[in-house]
Each structure stands twice: as C-alpha cells, then as structure tokens.
Symmetry: C2
Subunit: 310 residues, 2 copies
C-alpha cells in the first residue's frame, strides 16, 4: 500500500493526495487507512453541507473557508457526488468558484465521485476525512448535493450538518425529503435578497417548533444569508461556533468519533463473517436450489437451515 | 402468527388485510410470509411507479387500474411512503383521488409508511406484494415519491419501473438524482398540455441516446400523457404491455423473481450469522475497548482479530 504515514502527519500535499487516491480507488473498503492513522485521529471538527444544486453551497463554503483562514485554521473540503457518471458533473462546475483558495496551502479541496457501488461512497469520504484529520486539518467539510441516502450517510459522519436552501425551496421544504429535516443542525436560506426568504425561514421555523426536544438537545437554527453579498455570514459563523462549543461541552463530539470507529469495526467484521460463511460450495448449492425451484417444495426456512447447518 | 394462508389463497379481503398488518408491524423481518406462500408465488406482474409529489401519479394509476379492470385483471397498489412522520402525509391526500376504485373488489390499495428503521420499508413492501401475488392479483403496483434509496430498492423489486415527470421537471431532469435515470423502463411526461412538454421529452430522449445498450437490452421509452384529460393513456398502456411481453419472452420476469427470492435468503442468512456472532460478551468487549481508547495503542486490525478469534 502506497501510503506514507509520516508524510501525512507532516501534512505533505503529495502524501495526502496519494492516500486520497488510494482510498478512492481501493477495491475493497477495509480498515487499513484508519488503522494506520488511528493514533492521530479525533482532532478535527467535521461539518456536512448539503442542499440542492444552485443553492449557492460553493459561495457559502468560500465564506466559511475565508473565516477559518483568518483564524489560521486549516480547512479541507470533500465534495461527495452521488450522481451517476451518466448524468453527473454538476459539482465540478462549482469547484471553479472556490478557485481562489486553491493557491492557499492551508486549504485542500477534493472531489469524490461514485465508482459503481452505491454503498461505498460515504465510507470512502470518511476515510478521506481521516487522512485530513491526521494531517492536522482542524476543519473538514463534506459537501453533498442533498438528494438521497448518501447525504444521510454523510450526515452521520459529520458533527454539524448544514442544510442550504433558497427562498424558492418552498416545495422542497413541503416535501422535505427522506429525513433532511431531521439531520440539520443549521438551516441556511441563501440568496435571501430574493422574494420569499422570510416566508421560507418562517416555514422551517414552524416545522422545527412542531418537534419535541429532549432536555439539553440542540435546537436547529435558521439563518438567512446572501453569500455573494456577504450578508448574514457573521451570524452563520456565530451559530456554527456555538454549535461546535455545544458539541464539545456535552462531549458529543468525542462520542461521535467513537461511534464512527465502532461503526467501521462493525461493518468490517460483518463483511468478514459473511465472506467466510459464503463458500463457493454454499453459493452453488443455493443457486442450484433456486434454478430447480426446489424451494417451492422444501420451503425457504428449510432451505436456509440446510445452508446454515452445512 | 395470525396469517390465514387458505384465506389469502381464496383472496379473502380480511385474510389479506391481516397478513398485510402482520408484515407492517412485525418486529423482525424474516422469511415467514414468503415461506408460507412460496408455492403460490411468481404469477404477478410487478410495476414500480415513482416521481415527485404533484406529478400526477395517482391520476395515472387511476387510468392504469381502469385499463386492467376492463380486462378483468385484479390490481393491487402498494403506496410506499419513505417520508418521516415529522413531515409526511403527502401520499395520504392522493389516496382520496383513487377513491372510486375502493368499492371495486378487484382493486386493493394499501399505504405503507416508515416505522423507524430506514432499511426495512422496501422489504416490507415486497412481502406485501407476495401476499397479493398469492391472492391472485395479476398486477401489483408499488407507488413511491421518488426521492431516495427506498425508490431504488423498490425499483429493484419491480419488473417494470415507470418514472413520472411533468414539463417543469427540467431542473430535476438535469440533476437526475441518485440514479433515477438508470432505473426507468418508461418515462411519462404527465400534464403534457403545459408548456415545455416537448422539450422535457426531448431532453430525456437525448440523455437516453447517450447511453450504450447491450444487444437485446430494453430501450427506455418516453410517453407524454395528460392523465386527467385521458390523452396519451393508450400509448402508455401499449408501451407497458410491450415491456411486459419483452420481459416474458426474454425470461427476465422469471429471473427477476428468482433473484428476489435469492436476495431474501441472502439477507436473512446474513442477519442470522451476524446476530450469532455478536454475543453480549463480544459487544461488551468492543465497547470497553472503545471507551478506554485501547484501540489507539492496539490498532484496529488487532482489535478486530481479537474479536474474530474469540
């Protein structure tokens, strides 16, 4: 494995780039990257930013990066694009807009796209985040386009999840899809100079008020911004800083980290015991039963028991 | 288990309703329903209909039901609603519009909603479809709102997948989300009396033409309809009938059925070996290591090996 741990720990760009490529291209997702770096993980603050195409995520990211850079914090952005190769490409265009940070050595921007399998992308993005964490990036941002399971998985991997909408997102808010509403710690109504910004903010606010909260639970905030003009940015950053402080004080940020390690171990072991179980002989036997339609006489439970007791 | 197999096979509504409730409320998804009915499965044609809220899915379903009822075929509709209880409810409103079929004994319409777990809904919908299959429903339609992983899972469970859009879906088509483009066998541009219908159809057509097709592979079709006025419906039904014939002639429909049985068996066995592996002792040991941060010294691979070799 072409991973240069010392180089990553020294934050050398070449070592980081190579490790990222390794993660992106690895046939099997395994524990190797996390294992190599595990002594040096757990320092970074991980943020997920999601929202529909055209909501202005890149301009907002630009503002966030600016803010953290004035504090001399190193920032990594991982753009996760779950769209298919057949229709993809939206995110690459956005990349150009963050161009002015490319020459800044304290900023690292990387796109990751789907390679065939549906499930692996969020895990690969997490491995990439581990690389940045070990390399001393204090802020790690996952950017996604906000449309499906990958976003939910990425939200699980973030300490703070930001959902970016625009004043016209009324319909999207109505049908607030697949749990986006539950995962947000902070809603941004961007392009708030446009008509309907106040209504959109009020609509989300009232949905949030319908929820019940446990004692000490974070109440998601709604902030209106205009990233291009720069309005609302300081309020957004204050809210982010407040949430980060909340996560530290409550110990949630540490718990999140441990849960991610646990999830990695669980999924690794579960894959391992499955591949141990499914010998060629068992697979052949199952396929034979299915082709011959044995299972109609035998019953599925019996068929399963035969496989389990082999 | 309160499942009356004889009653289901006789297509008694009470027996079907009870079995559906059993599937919806069962704590654990297992093979029991499929096992009980397996001798009687594999007769139905399973169709998935997906698309954004407001695209007119219910009116189209109404037309489809009408068509098949004139042929005296029994039709079941399973509405799968992956939205959260916090924001859900869109589908229930639509139900009213199919009301005129409620009194028709050859039509069965059932909604299924998420109960906590993200993963189970598509599997429960498949169990529901098995009940209808055994009860002699020739046509089984899954309806979803087209926004995420559940739709992809439901598409896997359907022989024909229909994606319903409207002329204004241009943006949706551009960003054609999470693989919707790949799963459709038939695109419907509904409300085609509105401006932009031809452009939307042309846009999809050209995206479809960019794809490469294997020899003998189905080429997805695009049909414009206006479900309320009744235009385009006969073309839609002809295309559906054509796809069904294609599936039968190529043997794909039988293969689909076997693959679903296989997937059920695989997922059942994988869950079983996982729960056998994760004894209380192993779980405690893992949690202890995580809390004490043992893994930082030990390394994850070593930690995993200790668990595997226990």
């Amino acid at each position: 494995m072409n991973v240069h741990v010392e180089g990553i720990l020294n934050s050398e760009r070449l070592a980081i780039t190579r490790a990222l490529s390794f993660v992106e291209n690895a046939e099997d997702l395994d524990l190797s990257i996390t294992d190599l770096l595990v002594q040096h993980l757990g320092q970074a603050y991980r943020i997920g930013v999601t929202g529909p195409p055209g909501a202005g995520k890149s301009s907002l990211l630009d503002r966030m990066i600016e803010y953290w850079r004035t504090q001399d914090k190193k920032v990594a952005v991982i753009s996760v694009d779950p769209s298919s190769p057949f229709t993809g490409g939206a995110i690459l265009g956005d990349r150009v807009r963050m161009g002015r940070h490319y020459s800044d050595k304290g900023v690292f921007i990387r796109s990751m796209a789907t390679r065939g399998s549906r499930g692996g992308l969020a895990l690969r993005a997490q491995d990439a985040a581990d690389i940045f964490d070990a390399a001393g990036y204090e802020i790690i941002i996952y950017e996604t386009v906000g449309v499906g399971q990958v976003e939910l998985d990425v939200a699980d991997a973030a300490d703070t999840t930001i959902v970016v909408l625009v004043p016209e997102s009324g319909d999207d808010i109505q049908a607030m899809k697949a749990g986006l509403m539950e995962i947000a710690d902070l809603f941004i109504i961007n392009k708030s100079d446009r008509q309907g910004a106040n209504q959109a903010a009020a609509q989300i606010q009232s949905m949030l008020e319908m929820r019940s909260y446990a004692e000490g639970e974070w109440h998601p905030q709604v902030v209106k911004t205009n990233a291009l003009a720069g309005t609302g940015i300081s309020e957004m950053m204050e809210t982010l800083v407040k949430h980060q402080a909340f996560l530290s004080e409550t110990g949630i940020i540490r718990k999140n980290f441990q849960q991610r390690i646990q999830a990695k171990i669980l999924s690794h072991i579960n894959r391992k015991i499955q591949s141990d179980f499914w010998s060629v002989e068992k697979i052949n036997s199952l396929e034979k039963s299915l082709k011959s339609e044995d299972y109609r006489k035998l019953g599925l439970v019996e068929l399963v028991n035969n496989l389990l007791n082999r």
